[in-house]
Symmetry: D2
Subunit: 276 residues, 4 copies
């Protein structure tokens, strides 16, 4: 992949570890670490979010996730709480000391979201929203860049190149499944992409097993597969009551199932020599 | 497709014909018309653009195309002339009397681009950039919405629903090929999507045979196929000297080949009872 | 496509026209012809088959189709009438004077089927059943080779190469849609493949719009698109009573709708200068 | 998946463990076991095959693989040694005491191959060769059924249903990657399919990481991912000298790299409580 420059492992020094500031000191994502991000798809209400945040904190999760601005296929679906959601995220961070990540969808929202969140996420549908890539490349916050629904590995790394070349080196990639003909799963987890990215790039790569499978029963085995394939972390949807989630309920774990996942993943992280 | 409301043919009155203002009176796109948009992928320099604009005008093309802000997979590729490109487009419009269409990639650029162009295009990579969809939904300019690289027909129509529900009814869909395993062609022209959209929606649909095939030799037969399958128009890349185009040269027609295409397409439009 | 030898247009003389013997003299498929094959998916019973055969004959169809041995995803589905179906096909040929085509799925059946049918079809699922390809390559009967569900154009032409290199030059290719993520249509008609095959190979190529779309309303526009894209013919599912067909009812035309298709296709064939 | 009967876990007793006879007693594949099949893509010559067979035996591999009849996209590629290859396989079995598996492509070859091999493999290209499925369903030998290049999980299980309903219950499924738009890897390993099959069916499922990735460096992490996702075993291409293999050299491991893979996989099998 000749077009790669700043994202290339060959052309840069090996393996970047991104540090995320948090009230409790830096959280790291990259080679040698197994970092877990968890939380509900969307921030739906204050009480439930603070509850799940504390539960996850006690389980040893490193970073909280929660959508305030939600990309939805239909304009008639729940779109998130917006600024109110950001405030709840900030409160959860205060409460738990954990950094929070949330999605940004519009260049005009970057400043606002940056004032609340520790990490900004660029979602799959915006992986080739080049204006947004350039804009998050000019801020001084870590960014998670999800792979596009049908992006090749090369296109994904070139999208990363947009952010890096604009100046922001705190970049984390996230494989979240690709679109194929298979319809039993929501997407097809491309485990080979994890291996490929570790080979081609120095950037950290994590896996979102929730979107990659779309079925909560598959999230645990998919997470374990990601870990032994070389992923540097996971981003998992956990909801206190998945059956009444406003979005992605079918792919969300309840806290008990997440606890089992995390126990089994840590066992594998030990074997792989990864810190958590 | 229950989620459809404003884009649904069943729920709305049949077939919308979009009118585009131009110095020479309105240009129409929709059922009963065969409307052709042509021009180079990008506006590369003033002289060549004005030259090709006049040639196309004389051939009977209805609308000129040309990219000023270009979405490119790599940040190191030619990205268009920006504002200078917009000015050249405006000059071509003055010269020919034809309306012009160009792509918008950032919500912050909508006002600027609207002041130069007659139609705004939302590209494939931004089909689910919901902020952009909502923003172009709030202006009073026709919009062309290209299908995403791997968007289902339903997702595409729901993206249209974003624009319609924000208030803008001057919307035209554009099929430009989807991503499949086949690598001989750049994309796979989904001719069935044209038929499906005419069945499901009242919105006009045009076809971009240049991106759909990626090979100039295939553009003419693909255009003819689109016409008899029910497309309301075409958007074709034509460059005065394809071999030295800064982008998409391989899929661009020279004026002679475009002339042959247009002759054969008009013959089919006559059979189908479409005005041009 | 360097691996191509006998299927390559460049390396062989231009455009093969395959002649099929019939009681009424030869039927031709290839450049310059628009040849139509029609009939129900499966031969279901004698009376209905003879009826539709005569109707199709009167409409000017050139070749009759009908499955006697049906490939079905589930072993519990209707699999065709077997030898009894072959006998009905032979009777229809007697009655109408038209040649008949039917599918062969097993090397052991080739001799049997050859004794009843004029053309043998190798179906999509067997496109890379190399034993079968070699075996039909050794007989002296025309063969229709359908494209595999997710075969690249190159793999398809290499499958053709198997038949040609075994000695049988009476070979016709049939595009029948490929598998993609789109689920509104049964498959995605790859109209570009028609253009590509005419460019790369001298072999005749026809299109099966019934399988390519899976919806009868889409069959007519898809057929027209195939014709102007350069296809040498069509293979269309027509059933006297689609609503009670034992297979593929949703994609089958009734005789009236087929008549309309055929009228419109002939109009296009005239423009393209194709005999029918 | 209502159409499933004999392959369904819900409708049948839980988890089948297939027993394969061998000079050294039965080898088992199924829930609770981690069974490894290894060997070169094709049997290329006697000396090298016997050498690698002994090396693999000493490493603790359970079953030997090697193609005698090779399915190749082009008729001009190396197609295997045929009967001579079968004889070498039988000799390797004598020498090592390990059972051997080889591919069958033609119903007419089943008896011949059965007289040499302990397991018959139906390859991806023949997954919907229903005659072959029915024929191997009538023998009393274990069968490995590979997933088709673009088969859905449902189609794959229905193909299994063909074999089971014909009488043969000694059936093992093999995921070997599916065809997607991604071209960096030869195929896309569908790790979710492993999880899905364990959920939907009682049949054993193994993974072929060599075809699924097409790159030897990716085979080890892909194998580990398969193991923790629930696979009952692996089928890995190992060649004494990959750089001069007549087929699949790029995806073949040399013995040293395979040894490392096997060590790491066994460590995971211990954690998962699987025998090997």
């Amino acid at each position: 992949m000749e077009a790669l420059k700043l994202a290339s492992r060959e052309k840069q020094s090996p393996y970047t570890v991104v540090e995320i500031d948090s009230p409790q000191g830096p959280v790291r994502i990259g080679e040698g670490y197994c970092t877990v991000i968890a939380g509900p798809c969307a921030v739906e209400n204050r009480e439930e979010y603070l509850l799940i945040a504390q539960v996850l904190k006690e389980m040893g999760v490193h970073i909280l996730r929660g959508g305030a601005f939600k990309p939805r296929s239909s304009p008639y679906s729940f779109m998130g709480l917006g600024v109110e959601g950001l405030k709840i995220l900030a409160e959860a961070r205060e409460l738990t000391g954990l950094p929070v990540v949330t999605e940004v969808m519009d260049t005009r929202d970057i400043e606002l979201i940056s004032s609340y969140a520790d990490i900004l996420q660029v979602g799959s549908r915006n992986m080739q929203n080049f204006s947004l890539l350039q804009a998050v490349g000019r801020i001084n916050k870590p960014v998670i860049l999800k792979r596009g629904l049908s992006a090749t590995i090369e296109e994904w790394l070139l999208a990363a190149e947009y952010i890096l070349s604009a100046g922001n080196q705190k970049l984390i990639l996230c494989e979240r499944g690709i679109r194929t003909f298979e319809s039993y799963t929501r997407n097809t987890l491309d485990i080979g992409a994890v291996v490929a990215v570790k080979e081609l790039s120095h950037l950290p790569i994590i896996v979102d097993p929730s979107h990659a499978t779309g079925r909560w029963k598959m999230v645990r085995p998919a997470s374990k597969a990601a870990m032994v394939a070389g992923a540097d972390g996971l981003m998992v949807e956990v909801h206190p009551y998945p059956e009444r989630a406003l979005s992605d309920g079918k792919q969300s774990l309840n806290p008990d199932n997440f606890a089992r996942l995390w126990t089994e993943v840590k066992q594998l992280a030990d074997i792989e020599g990864k810190h958590y």
